[in-house]
Symmetry: C2
């Protein structure tokens, strides 16, 4: 492996990875462990409010990589779809307040809405909020989610669909968040990452646990699963991505552990497997 | 809906759907409920042996639709890969013994084997057992499995991959089993079903439960989830499929219920939602 991989200067941790920590504790913890980047889950901002959270983050010296998450555009009622767009505009404002240059989008889905219809609602929603993102100077990243989330979380389940979506939008403001957990299985992955050249705004890492005991909160530490993370990293970097690499692990098991020790373990896994 | 849909003459139930029942009980139960077709899981044959199971099935007058399941070709050791092929030849013989014209294949995967390598092992294994299937007069159906099973169950996760596989094999003996549970989310589904014209050997139905509480045994009864089953049925029939439609539901919840009542409920769901 090239030397450039052997450091954590581009390591970022998602606050939901260390869910038991408040934002203040996460800022302290990441600083203690010399993790330079932080991605903030909205739940971690809520207790402080965006202004106060923004001040804490600026004072910390940590690099704010992104705000998670906007999206959830599809809904059966027109009013709910308009509300979702307004929510997204507010989330963009929140990103400005905390100094996040990017909002990651979980685009949404509903068991009551056919996937092609949901995808159109996502496209329409994105087109509607894009000017607000542009004015705010905040980028938006569509995160394709694993097909096991196609019922309620996202109708965008492959890089192909995300690429089609950004192509249809035609805005530099909107790109893609590649999370290895969601896309590792896809036989078109390398080609579609290549197609996304210049539009990959975020890169998330974790690993796939065997067996996976529940669909939502059983992700694994990098290197402990079957995902070829370095190969995918190579592809996204060949496609021009050179930003922070975010560790995003939702795990009931790891949330129960000492979060300081866990963070050091993540750092070591990042050095050895990302 | 056309009248042709309003009957259960092409209804088949997979013995694993009524897992608590032995093969003898399943035969009695399906006969009582006037379900004409049966697909047999190998576990349900084991207590009797294939010869005895075959006699029971012939005597029942039920139509034996398929034997589940062969496959699992990838392995890290060469010997294990040869063993897997021999197992598959034995499974083909078992199909002959019970009068099943088709073996459904869960092709296999391993967290230790990269997906492209696993796919090559599947192709090589299939090419090796195909002559035995031909001699035995038994067809083989590749079942693409949902991407959430790409770590240990199948490296074939889309209709596109299954189509490529049968195209590479070029044998009339090998086709595809379309299970709505595995493929419903795929934006290329309609096109790939069309591409499989003449090669769809099996069609499985159930539904996607929201929320899905575990990856393996939380499937839903047709009509209670978000899968557009009739739309997919239309596509497979336009692609030439006119065989039995198999109800395959793995569900801890439903296995706990009275299996006779459950079977009547499935019949009603089949009439109304398939």
């Amino acid at each position: 492996m090239a030397d450039k991989l052997q450091d954590t200067r581009r390591m970022c941790v998602h606050t939901q990875t260390t869910k038991p920590w408040s934002l203040a504790e996460a800022i302290e913890g990441y600083t203690r462990a010399s993790v330079p980047g932080i991605t903030v889950w909205r739940d971690h901002i809520a207790p402080y409010g965006a202004e106060e959270a923004g001040k804490m983050l600026r004072d910390s010296g940590l690099e704010v990589v992104s705000l998670c998450r906007g999206g959830f555009f599809p809904a059966t009622s027109g009013q709910a779809r308009l509300d979702a767009r307004n929510d997204n505009r507010a989330i963009i404002d929140e990103a400005v307040a905390i100094g996040a240059p990017l909002v990651v989008l979980v685009c949404g889905a509903s068991p009551e809405i056919e996937l092609p219809v949901a995808r159109q609602m996502i496209l329409d929603g994105l087109a509607d909020i894009e000017p607000h993102a542009k004015d705010a100077g905040v980028k938006l990243a569509i995160e394709p989610l694993h097909p096991m989330y196609a019922d309620t979380r996202s109708a965008i389940n492959t890089m192909d669909q995300a690429n089609n979506m950004i192509m249809a939008l035609g805005s530099n403001q909107v790109g893609i968040a590649v999370d290895v957990y969601h896309v590792w299985w896809d036989s078109f992955l390398k080609a579609e990452i290549g197609r996304a050249k210049g539009s990959i705004f975020a890169f998330h890492v974790c690993d796939w646990r065997t067996p996976t005991r529940n669909l939502l909160t059983d992700r694994e530490i990098m290197g402990k699963g079957c995902i070829r993370i370095r190969e995918i990293r190579e592809w996204v970097e060949q496609a021009g991505f050179n930003g922070f690499i975010e560790v995003e692990i939702f795990s009931d098991d790891y949330w129960k552990q000492d979060q300081d020790k866990y963070l050091w373990r993540l750092k070591s896994a990042f050095l050895n497997h990302v």
